[in-house]
Symmetry: C2
Subunit: 219 residues, 2 copies
């Protein structure tokens, strides 16, 4: 089934909102996410129900069907691989690529994104630390979330290290950060993407280089 760009954006919104809100998503929430009106969302949802992309009972919100979820993940896969391309190959800064990826994610092709993935050498995460779904739609959930993608005020616990080099781990040692360490993001600095983090042994500044390499789980 071939979807329009608009439809793809709706699907993606329902997916990511549902992800944070245990699946059931309200009309208003979607309309806020997509900068549109609730009435427009209502119309689109009816179309989606007909196409069996969502489960929908009037006034009860929507959730994606398996088909809808698959499609949403495909778009997210494209979005994130394009972001890697823009940062790693074209040398964009990580904070400049999102809007461009919003366009590129809608390019239709059976082969393009897999070739791009090969060209990029099968990255596992995008420049913001978010996991890239594989070609079968498998995506690692919270497990592989990066500290860099944690929002202001949110708490998490360290569950792994992406860069497992000696020097990196030694450095973490100095900061008293190890597997199981609870962290709370107190602020984020847009200029260099560093963050102030509260640890068990006090508040410290953490560079983006570090936060991109720390697997965490929200708590």
């Amino acid at each position: 089934m071939l979807l329009s760009q608009t439809e793809e954006n709706y699907l993606k919104a329902i997916y990511s909102l549902g992800y944070a809100n245990s699946n059931k998503v309200s009309t208003t929430l979607i309309s806020v996410e997509l900068n549109t009106k609730a009435s427009s969302v209502s119309d689109m949802i009816k179309k989606f129900a007909d196409k069996e992309l969502v489960h929908y009972k009037k006034y009860q919100g929507v959730s994606l069907t398996e088909i809808g979820r698959k499609k949403a993940i495909e778009i997210i896969r494209k979005h994130r691989l394009w972001e890697v391309f823009l940062v790693n190959k074209l040398h964009y800064n990580w904070d400049e690529v999102h809007e461009l990826a919003e366009q590129l994610e809608h390019i239709k092709s059976e082969t393009l994104i897999d070739k791009l993935e090969t060209f990029l050498d099968f990255p596992t995460h995008d420049p913001h630390g978010d996991p890239i779904p594989d070609r079968n739609g498998n995506i690692e959930y919270h497990k592989n979330m990066m500290l860099s993608s944690i929002e202001n005020g949110e708490s998490c616990v360290v569950i792994g290290f992406k860069d497992a080099s000696d020097s990196f781990l030694k450095f973490l040692d100095k900061l008293h950060i190890k597997l199981g360490s609870p962290l709370k993001v107190l602020s984020k600095e847009p200029f260099d993407n560093s963050m102030i983090v509260e640890t068990e042994s006090g508040s410290i500044s953490i560079s983006n280089q570090i936060s991109k390499n720390l697997f965490v789980k929200k708590i």
Copy 2:
């Protein structure tokens, strides 16, 4: 002025049709090129006249204004650079990239295409031998046309070599091809993009590798 994908496709069609037909393009010609109806073209042309993208007098056909021409060349630049990317970096075959480039040429960004051009190391021609306009909209016309882009039955004369290596020129020597040699394309083989070419000293088969490196001028 921000143009829709549809508008960009119309502009590109008017540009390339006008190029072959000394600028004045008819409604019907455009409708054939874009697989649409003459009435739809009429509607769009009126919009273009309002936006000062075309010169238009009812029933007299259209030609691009300087603004329209600039915009058309921008899109062609994007199309051809994306084609180079797809072939050189993602290893698509040169005959697989056109439809994808038709999508990618519409990605909107102030910076993307220049960064892509740098990444590709400033290619001068796309995989089909067509010249790539520079960032200022300058495009080398017939002058830098490649033998590979000459159509069946057309005649041309050699005006330069892209790959000026010794071995390449020695090889051309053997074929009795040199600056000023007249050539006529007798047939093209889709399988390996080779062509049969009539030279002053007989008909020979020329590989795509060769034809992509011969600058020619139509006669």
